[in-house]
Assembly symmetry: C2
Homo-oligomer: 228 residues x 2
């Protein structure tokens, strides 16, 4: 059943859906900043009146509601969290140098433009279409691995904006591997070492669902949509 | 012929293509900040080695090259310009309040996700497909008009980030009107008054190509691609 209770005027509420990589980004960002919040699971087949009212333009999760005011679109929410909960004792997601900031934004935007769509094609399609998606996936991940290089995190020594944008996808990797017959470990060793490094952080590990549950969820989705 | 000269290590160079609304955004942003730069017109049918080297991921204009380092994706470039040429005497594109910043980013992102694609369908398609695009266009522009409300600019009293993101499309409005039989003035009077307000700024007027030239350019494009 959809939540029918209204969102309070004070405090932080997250409208979310557990397997969403976009929602996961926001969960990680809030955890990194130590922000307490109320988590509300949405039923996307029966969206709550609160979701429809708070994100009338896209009608999508995640929506972060801060003191009654909604912020939508995951990467914009991460930006908002970084700027709102700033100062001593709070890690900054973006570096201070404008060029380094532009670079982080560029690669997060690359993830938004490429990885979600290609990833969905890995499990939704078969045959030649899937092979094409697989080739695009490998190319995109190689670019990301190259951008990471030998740094511990994308921004350098500190876990930040671009790490949050990409690591949220890592719980889907097992699904991509299983459906499209890819070995992430063999293909992208540096990137997978980076995933492990990120997952050692509590903010990440507690925000990521079990990859086996994602695989199961995708199985259910495929059946529902009649995809073999 | 594509430019073959390399980009200098110092100063600001813009790789651009005159009808591009994405390039126009960058031209407006640089003019607002009073930044001197070298404009380089690209031939998109024969991209320069400099463009391919400086934006190997997307291979698209605009690319802003600052002291030899490239920044890609128009809205990220506008952000970069805002943060790089900041301080006394330079207008800030984004307000300081995090919520107002998130709101500006949300609507600029809306323009990126909706207006370019819908706009292209207005002149590229016919019949039912075009009618569908027309309906989507009207809906999207109504949302934008609602967000503008009775404010002089999207951010309030000052011309800024979201104004730059959207006004760059205004030289295409005549093409949309002509090909899809829309009267912008009748449908969106507040938005068109805002366009005039923006165009009264030299930064905007000198960055926007003549709408009749855009219309002619689209005519040539349609012939080239065999669209009636």
């Amino acid at each position: 059943m959809a939540a029918t209770t209204e969102v309070p005027d004070k405090g932080v509420v997250l409208l979310d859906f557990w397997p969403s990589m976009f929602g996961i980004r926001v969960r990680i960002a809030l955890a990194e900043k130590g922000v307490e919040y109320e988590y509300r699971e949405e039923d996307l087949a029966n969206k709550s009146p609160a979701l429809l009212r708070l994100n009338p333009v896209h009608k999508k999760i995640p929506v972060l509601v801060h003191d009654g005011r909604p912020v939508c679109e995951s990467i914009i929410i991460v930006h908002y969290i970084d700027e709102t909960w700033a100062g001593p004792g709070r890690p900054a997601f973006l570096p201070s140098d404008p060029y380094a900031r532009a670079r982080a934004r560029f690669w997060a935007d690359f993830v938004d433009k490429k990885i979600y769509d290609i990833g969905a094609r890995l499990w939704r399609t078969k045959g030649e279409t899937q092979q094409q998606a697989k080739q695009e996936f490998v190319e995109a991940m190689k670019l990301l691995e190259e951008e990471l290089g030998d740094k511990p995190y994308f921004g350098g020594d500190n876990f930040g904006y671009m790490d949050i944008a990409l690591v949220a996808f890592s719980c889907w990797f097992h699904t991509y591997e299983t459906h499209a017959n890819i070995s992430m470990e063999a293909e992208f060793p540096k990137l997978m070492a980076w995933v492990k490094r990120c997952q050692a952080r509590e903010s990440v590990s507690k925000s990521l669902p079990d990859p086996l549950k994602i695989l199961e969820f995708v199985g259910v989705l495929k059946k529902k949509h009649g995809i073999e």
